[in-house]
Subunit: 159 residues, 2 copies
């Protein structure tokens, strides 16, 4: 997802898993609060998302679903963000994100807050299809839920 | 609509009419090319629009339909605009807008280009419901189409 080092206008290849148990030393990994909300979403996966990640604010356009998805992201100034954010009322979610480096991959663990408290998911982004197919989930991962709509952030935010 | 002097985060009261014939001296009025496209739209009228108006680029969030509508608009830098604009491919329209001052009202006349060439509409924005009810359309206005979805910019852009 929208990590700092990710190319900004590209197709994403990523997998999402439930998390059976939190890995050791999680609290020592880099982490920050993410608040996000949706200005508009379409059934086919097209969406415009606002996000505050620590102090960094952004707007992201996505289209498509599943392990392939096109994404376009811009940084927003605090003023731009403040003007648009009220438009996401009733369509928001809040989570703490931990970033775990694992060999040459980055695993993002999201611990949801608010009405989805108890839900923990991990996302892994790959540079190509080959590295995606070769991926062996660590022991603390649960079921893969990449294509399960109920665990999409849009669904979680709207419900 | 998104005129320069309009309050930015408010409810709009506006009426839309077809134009029977172009008013005299139209070419002498201030005018500019507008290109706009939609990143995402929902059936209830919720939408995120990108617009280039002359050289000014903006992103507008709208929710609601008809003569009442909530609108939030931010200016975008050329770089921000360029990053998002490809996301509107296949969902765009192009028109020339003329601004006509008429007593204390502003009439915006939009002459569509491209595949909607031939369509001309006029929009009038009011500061309150009273001035909206008192409005007498000039002789060159045609039928009122405020609530006709076929003339909404979203529909025109998607079709």
């Amino acid at each position: 997802m929208a990590g700092r080092n990710k190319p900004r206008h590209n197709r994403e290849i990523e997998l999402k898993f439930l998390v059976k148990r939190l890995p050791d030393n999680l609290k020592r990994q880099p982490h920050f609060i993410i608040e996000q909300g949706y200005l508009a979403t379409e059934p086919g996966g097209r969406q415009v998302r606002l996000r505050k990640r620590g102090n960094a604010t952004s707007l992201t356009f996505k289209v498509g679903r599943g392990s392939h998805r096109e994404e376009r992201e811009i940084k927003l100034s605090p003023k731009q963000f403040a003007a648009l954010w009220p438009g996401t009322a009733g369509r928001r979610l809040r989570k703490v994100r931990y970033e775990i480096s694992c060999e040459d991959l980055l695993i993002e663990v999201d611990i949801y807050r608010g009405r989805h408290k108890g839900l923990v998911v991990a996302e892994v982004e790959f540079r190509d299809m080959a590295s995606c197919s070769e991926f062996e989930p660590p022991e603390w991962f649960g079921r893969e839920v990449t294509r399960e709509k109920r665990y999409s952030n849009v669904r979680l935010a709207l419900q």
